[in-house]
Symmetry: none
Subunit: 142 residues, 2 copies
C-alpha cells in the first residue's frame, strides 16, 4: 500500500492546502470555483481527497495556491545514481505526520509557527525524502 513508486500525485495534501487557504480567506467553494474555473463539485471532491483530479484542475489550483508543483506532484523513484537529485537524511527518523503531530501536541507553540514549520517540514521531506520506506532505519547511501 505504501508503494511510493506508484502514487505520484499527493491529492490529499493538495486538498488540505486548498481547504486551509479557502477557509482562511473565508471563501465559499463557489467563490473559489469562480476564481479557478474549477467547478464547486470537483472542488469539494478534491478538498475531501476523493479521486484523482484532472491535470488541468491541479494546475489551476496550484496556481491559485501559489504553490510549487513539486509539492503535490513530487516523484521520487528509486532508480540509480541520479546525483542531480539532492537527498537529505533528516536527523532522527521523522515523517511529516509525526512531526506535525509533535508540533500540534505542543500547546505552548504558537499555531502560526507550528503550522509554518509543519508545512516547511513537509515540503522539505517530500522533496528530499529517502527513497526507502517510512520510518525504517534504512537510509540509502548514495
Amino acid at each position: 500500500m505504501t508503494d511510493t513508486t506508484k502514487s505520484f500525485v499527493n491529492t490529499v495534501e493538495l486538498g488540505r492546502a486548498i481547504r486551509r487557504k479557502r477557509e482562511e480567506l473565508s471563501l465559499s467553494l463557489r467563490d473559489v470555483a469562480d476564481e479557478t474555473s474549477v467547478s464547486a463539485s470537483t472542488l469539494s471532491r478534491i478538498e475531501n481527497g476523493t479521486g484523482k483530479p484532472d491535470a488541468d484542475n491541479i494546475a489551476r489550483l496550484m496556481n491559485w495556491l501559489d504553490m510549487p508543483m513539486e509539492r503535490v506532484m513530487g516523484a521520487h523513484r528509486e532508480d540509480g545514481d541520479d546525483s542531480a537529485k539532492a537527498v537529505v537524511y533528516f536527523p532522527h527518523e521523522a515523517t511529516p505526520d509525526i512531526v506535525e503531530a509533535h508540533l500540534r501536541a505542543d500547546r505552548n507553540l504558537s499555531p502560526e509557527t507550528a503550522k509554518a514549520l509543519s508545512e516547511l517540514f513537509r515540503v522539505a521531506y517530500t522533496q528530499f525524502s529517502v527513497p526507502g520506506s517510512d520510518t525504517r532505519g534504512r537510509n540509502k547511501r548514495k
Copy 2:
C-alpha cells in the same frame, strides 16, 4: 483577470521533450514504458500531443525527464535551456535567520524541537533556495 480558463498543461512541450530524450537515448516506446510505468500507447499519444495525459502519468514522465513541473504546468516560459533542477518556493517570505529567530523567540518551544526544526529549515532552504527567484518573476518575488 485571473484568466484561469487557459489550458495550464502544456502537453505539447512535454511530448516533445519526451520524444527528444527518448530518441537521444535510442529507446523504444516500450522501453520507456517499462521504465516509467506508462503504457506505450499512452506514451505515443503524449509524444504526439494527442489529448491530455493523466496527472499521474505527467508526474511519472516529468520524473523520468528530471524536469521541473513548472516547465509543463502553469505559467511556462519559452526558453531553450534544459537546466532541470528542482526548485521550491517556500510559502511566505522566510529566510533561515528569520525562522531561527522566531523559534528562538518562542520560549515555550522545547529547545530540542526548536533546534531540530531550525536546522531542518536551514538545510532545506539552502538546498532549495531560489536565490533571486530569478527567471520567474511571476509573483512572490523577494
